[in-house]
């Protein structure tokens, strides 16, 4: 069965296989927000060490939002309620992706529902105390400036957590917390909030006198307001429930009567330590195993084009999940003691190839009994490279490391980029209100309008202007996947070299990889045979074949007339001097062989390399004809002859492909550019009979 080609439109039309929080009620989303905020994490553990209680979501709270907790930058959201009482989040995105400490935010503000916020970000933390000051000053209306009715509704919302459904009334006692301290207060002057505003009597320790706040001041000052069990009698001195705690204080001692101490099980580990352990076990169980299984599937599963539909769907889904998990793989897991055991288990769980088609060609040489070794080697290698990239993002080898990571993460072009595309399409949907059911091409038009894609528009305006075509889709797909890769590995975007390497790796995933020279350079010395097998370049998959053919077709459509002229010139019989194989018609000149290999090369760089090889071979051929110092005057006519002899089917499309998909345009100034230009000139000369060389 033919494999479905992944296009941008197809990806957009594919539903995201995650929970659609935007379809859930606000209450359910709020519970999820609380759950995510309190999930075990180093951040939460640090808060507990400092005795900071969890902060409940409320109108006005700030939410730190991560696409991934391992990524060093965070966006911030302000939670508020709209006129209909529904939760809305205003998101400010951080401009600098590389360093959270810079804290520079774009001017763009996203208005999301709570559900959309949960879909957009993997990790959200209610974290008002650490939010950048005045980040939302322009969008936030303080409670002190809002009406009494809105303040009362908000008070009801805040106290609902402790006494669901009970309306606050005069005389009710509350515990109000601002994160550092918890004070007692009594609601007074109840009744008609429009005519006789509420006020809160607040106990203060420093003066020994109670203070009186309006309801707005109370809400603005104390984010957590909850009922006390007993109403405070009128005139009673209000107690201080907990002394003010200094920020960044040392972890509380075991005998301290703080919340931390009370939550520590007797004779057990401190809560923070337990959380750390839990986090570690989560990482090992959820991420490491999944990544191993992904690798096992990639290594030993039958190739998707030969598998049945159900099997293929299962493999695709597993590979997509695992690719995401691999991207989130935490540092430090390399030393996991049970890595070998996990590799054995994952190898054993990999589907058997018998009866379903042969294993992938890349791993044909690896026997079943050595799968665990191959898997272990592959994992170690991947971890080493990832760790190196994280440790030395600016090292000179980062480009090669980036390529290795991308090739791992995007190994299967029909699934991994698809997952990334879906993720980014979801973001675009939230940002631009694009509906998944919109007409094909909607995503591209939205992207073309997006400021982030201005560079792409400048570089290849024709691609953005054109209607639906495969070349534009492929360019856009690569760009979108690049964004997704940078989200997971921000250091890869720090250097131009690593950016180029990422793009070239993505192209290889989209079109198939015909050039293993980069991997050769990266392969560690003394690599085991298994590891060598893992690094070997695989055969292009069906989706890559089809995509490459579609792109070439799209490019050829623009130069049919010129191709026809070159083809007509090529039909003239080759010169008698052209050496041929003994007894055969096929020319054996190296230059012609280089030129003939052009359509088979699937990357711009490989095509340029083939052109340089053709020119160098031509120069050597001319030298053999006793021509000293081969200059352009000699080279160009010879190149015209070689191009004519090569009879390339789509020569202009080859040139266009090299220009469209060359990710480092600096090479156009060098010998690659010279070779490409010479090839263009030869084509132009052949296409114009008045300039064609004599045959």
């Amino acid at each position: 069965m033919a494999e479905t080609v992944l296009s941008v439109d197809a990806v957009v039309a594919t539903p995201v296989a995650t929970k659609r929080w935007s379809l859930e009620s606000d209450e359910v989303c709020l519970q999820e927000l609380v759950r995510r905020s309190n999930v075990a994490s180093a951040w939460r553990a640090g808060k507990i060490r400092r005795g900071v209680p969890p902060e409940a979501p409320r109108a006005g709270c700030k939410i730190q939002c991560f696409h991934n907790s391992l990524v060093g930058f965070a966006d911030w959201a302000l939670l508020d309620v709209d006129g209909r009482g529904e939760w809305r989040a205003t998101v400010r995105t951080q401009k600098t992706k590389a360093n959270v400490a810079l804290r520079q935010f774009s001017d763009e503000k996203l208005d999301l529902s709570l559900g959309a916020l949960l879909e957009r970000y993997n990790e959200v933390r209610v974290n008002s105390t650490d939010a950048p000051a005045a980040l939302f000053a322009d969008v936030w209306t303080p409670w002190t400036e809002r009406g009494a009715e809105a303040c009362y509704v908000e008070l009801r919302r805040r106290v609902a957590a402790t006494a669901s459904g009970r309306a606050p009334a005069a005389g009710d006692a509350f515990a109000a917390s601002d994160g550092d301290r918890t004070l007692a207060c009594v609601l007074e002057c109840g009744g008609d909030y429009a005519g006789a505003p509420w006020r809160a009597r607040l106990g203060r320790s420093s003066t020994g006198e109670d203070a009186y706040l309006t309801l707005g001041e109370l809400l603005e000052t104390f984010h957590d307001v909850r009922f006390e069990s007993e109403p405070a009698p009128e005139g009673r001195r209000l107690p201080i429930l907990r002394p003010p705690r200094r920020k960044n204080a040392e972890p509380a001692a075991a005998d301290d009567d703080s919340e931390l101490a009370s939550s520590t099980p007797a004779g057990g580990k401190p809560v923070a330590r337990m959380l750390d352990d839990q986090q570690q076990s989560l990482e090992e169980a959820a991420i490491l195993e999944r990544e191993l299984e992904r690798l096992a599937i990639g290594l030993f599963a039958p190739s998707p084009q030969s598998a049945g539909r159900r099997e293929r769907g299962r493999l695709d889904a597993a590979a997509a999940d695992a690719a995401r998990a691999a991207a989130r793989a935490p540092p430090g897991a390399l030393d996991a003691p049970d890595l070998r055991d996990a590799a054995n288990r994952a190898a054993a769980k990999a589907p058997r190839g018998a009866g379903r088609g042969a294993p992938h060609a890349r791993y044909r040489g690896v026997g079943r009994e050595r799968r665990a070794d191959a898997l272990y080697d592959a994992l170690l290698s991947f971890r080493r490279r990832a760790a190196r990239a994280r440790r030395e993002p600016a090292a000179s080898a980062v480009a090669a490391v980036a390529a290795a990571i991308c090739r791992r993460a995007l190994r299967d072009a029909s699934t991994a980029p698809g997952a990334a595309l879906r993720a980014v399409a979801g973001e675009l949907q939230a940002k631009h209100e694009v509906h998944l059911a919109d007409a094909p091409g909607t995503l591209r038009s939205v992207v073309a309008d997006n400021v982030e894609f201005e560079v792409l528009t400048e570089q290849s305006p024709a691609c953005v202007r054109r209607g639906n075509d495969a070349a534009a889709d492929a360019l856009l797909a690569a760009r979108v996947v690049l964004e997704a890769v940078f989200k997971f590995h921000p250091p890869l975007g720090d250097r131009a070299d690593s950016t180029v390497a990422c793009l070239e790796s993505i192209d290889a995933a989209l079109f198939g990889d015909d050039d293993d020279s980069d991997d050769d350079g990266e392969r560690p010395r003394g690599a085991s045979p298994n590891e060598v097998a893992v690094y070997a370049v695989g055969e292009p998959r069906a989706s890559q074949e089809v995509r490459y053919a579609l792109v070439l077709d799209a490019l050829r459509a623009e130069s049919r007339a010129a191709d026809a002229l070159v083809a007509a010139a090529s039909r003239t019989p080759p010169r008698a001097a052209t050496p041929t194989k003994a007894g055969g018609d096929e020319p054996t000149r190296p230059s012609v062989r280089h030129l003939r290999s052009l359509p088979a090369k699937r990357s711009a760089r490989a095509k340029l390399r083939a052109l340089v090889g053709a020119l160098e071979a031509l120069a050597e051929e001319l030298e053999k004809r006793q021509i000293d110092s081969v200059a352009s005057d000699d080279l160009m006519p010879a190149l015209c002859e070689a191009v004519r002899d090569a009879r390339i089917e789509t020569p202009h499309a080859q040139v266009a492909f090299a220009k469209h998909f060359c990710r480092d345009e600096r090479v156009f100034l060098g010998v690659d550019g010279y070779a490409l230009t010479s090839f263009e000139i030869a084509l132009a000369a052949l296409g114009d009979p008045s300039r064609a060389p004599p045959s």
Binding site: T96, Q104, E458, L615, S629, Y674
Partner: protein, 210 residues
């Protein structure tokens, strides 16, 4: 300091000595004899040369030789698109080759405009006795089109260093003027490419959010 990369095209009629200039300039005195067999492969058509500029900057020249035959003349624009500089070579003993230089200049100015730095080189000054191009006419013409004029002899290795050094200085100056000081060092600064542009680096401060 980053190295500025410049593309230089070598233009001129056939047999005026473009290739000889190229080889002599890049190989210099290391070529044992002018008439010896020189270099192989592409070294006579495309050459890389690194040199130091006056401001302490380094420059890398990608020098493209062009086919001088008439049938490739009309395809010149493909050669010199995105070029930063052009060295137009004529033979001082061949007035026709000087007339061709006028055609090249007109074409360069029409297609590339004032962006490109032009140097006109009168080659084969070792054959001064056979000069066919009046010196005053050549100098006046160069001044009139905003180009500099140099005399060279590939055979005697004369004037080549000065010609390329002067051309490099002008290219660097133009790039600095166009994109501001320091831009000359940006590789590929002329072209746009897909790259994630980060914000200017601000002083780091301690992150207090985690």
């Amino acid at each position: 300091m980053p190295i500025a990369r410049f593309k230089v095209v070598l233009l001129g009629e056939g047999r005026v000595g473009k290739t000889s200039i190229l080889l002599r300039y890049v190989k210099g005195e290391r070529v044992p004899a002018y008439s010896d067999r020189q270099v192989s492969t592409l070294q006579a058509s495309y050459l890389d040369k690194r040199l130091s500029l006056r401001a302490g900057q380094s420059a890398s020249l990608s020098i493209w030789d062009t086919a001088g035959q008439e049938r490739f003349h009309a395809l010149g624009p493909i050669y010199y698109r995105d070029a930063d500089g052009a060295l137009l070579v004529y033979d001082i003993t061949d007035f026709e080759s000087f007339q061709k230089v006028r055609k090249w200049v007109r074409e360069l100015r029409q297609i590339v405009g004032q962006e490109i730095a032009i140097t006109i080189a009168g080659n084969k000054v070792d054959l001064e006795s056979s000069r066919a191009v009046p010196e005053a006419e050549a100098l006046d013409y160069a001044a009139s089109v905003g180009a500099t004029h140099v005399y060279t002899s590939a055979k005697l290795n004369k004037g080549l260093e000065d010609a390329f050094a002067e051309l490099s200085e002008r290219m660097a100056t133009r790039r600095n003027e166009t994109r501001g000081p320091g831009a000359a060092g940006l590789p590929g600064a002329k072209r746009s490419s897909i790259s994630i542009v980060d914000d200017p680096v601000a002083p780091k401060k301690k992150d207090s959010c985690c």
